[in-house]
């Protein structure tokens, strides 16, 4: 009903509906993971560990997906909750907090990876190469995200 009243209300309602669709995808992905973990599709020598891993991750995804679906459907059906959600999601301070949180996390991640890279040399070449690849991909993501933001703003 809120969606009938305001343009922002429509946006929030659409966003919540999209979240329900993403959550359904999450449940499907989780189910696929559980099937993969239990179905014996994995190499025999790794199956004990990997089967537990895939089953655990899959169950987690299913649970998270179902919870998100229930929560979002409840929000869609309740006018008061929808209004609260609308205000919370469009609140500029919350948006700023979100951006800053991601930004600080990004810096922390970069520093941790760099320290990890320095330490990894003493652990093994494999670990060093893995961290190097992660750091490279991270730097590329940062570069392209910056490029995208400069073009669109």
């Amino acid at each position: 009903m809120l969606a009938e009243n305001t343009k922002i209300g429509k946006t929030v309602e659409k966003r919540i509906k999209n979240r329900i669709i993403y959550s359904v995808c999450l449940v499907v992905l989780g189910a696929a993971s559980v099937i993969l973990g239990m179905g014996g599709f994995l190499p025999v020598e790794l199956s004990d560990y990997l089967s537990g891993f895939y089953s655990g991750v899959g169950t987690g995804l299913i649970a998270a997906g179902i919870l998100t679906i229930i929560r979002n459907i409840r929000t869609l059906k309740n006018e008061k909750l929808l209004k609260e959600k609308e205000i919370y999601e469009n609140d500029e301070r919350n948006k700023m907090i979100g951006l800053k949180t991601w930004s600080y996390t990004g810096y922390a991640m970069f520093i941790i990876l760099y320290v990890g890279l320095l330490v990894a040399g003493f652990i093994g070449e494999m670990v060093l190469n893995t961290i190097l690849v992660i750091l490279g991909v991270y730097a590329l993501c940062l570069f392209f995200a910056g490029l995208y933001c400069k073009k669109t703003m």
Binding site: I8, E86, I87, Y88, N90, D91, E92, R93, N94, M96
Partner: protein, 64 residues
């Protein structure tokens, strides 16, 4: 940037919750604005000033 939101709000006898609802932000945002912890965007500053029937310069004090 200083502001006189608290004074204007008290003058008008409205709660933070009511002001927040009127300008479509959370109560926490109003608290942060009043405490000077957060600077409002131009859009929000305009909304708040409009709500009190003032200009942005009357509500927000710009400092160098």
């Amino acid at each position: 940037m200083k502001n006189c939101i608290k004074e204007l709000r008290k003058e008008k006898r409205i709660s933070q919750e009511e002001l927040a609802a009127a300008v479509s932000v959370t109560r926490q945002t109003i608290i942060s604005l009043e405490n000077g912890k957060y600077n409002a965007s131009l859009l929000l500053a305009h909304e708040i000033a409009k709500y009190f029937g003032k200009t942005i310069e009357e509500v927000f004090i710009f400092e160098n």
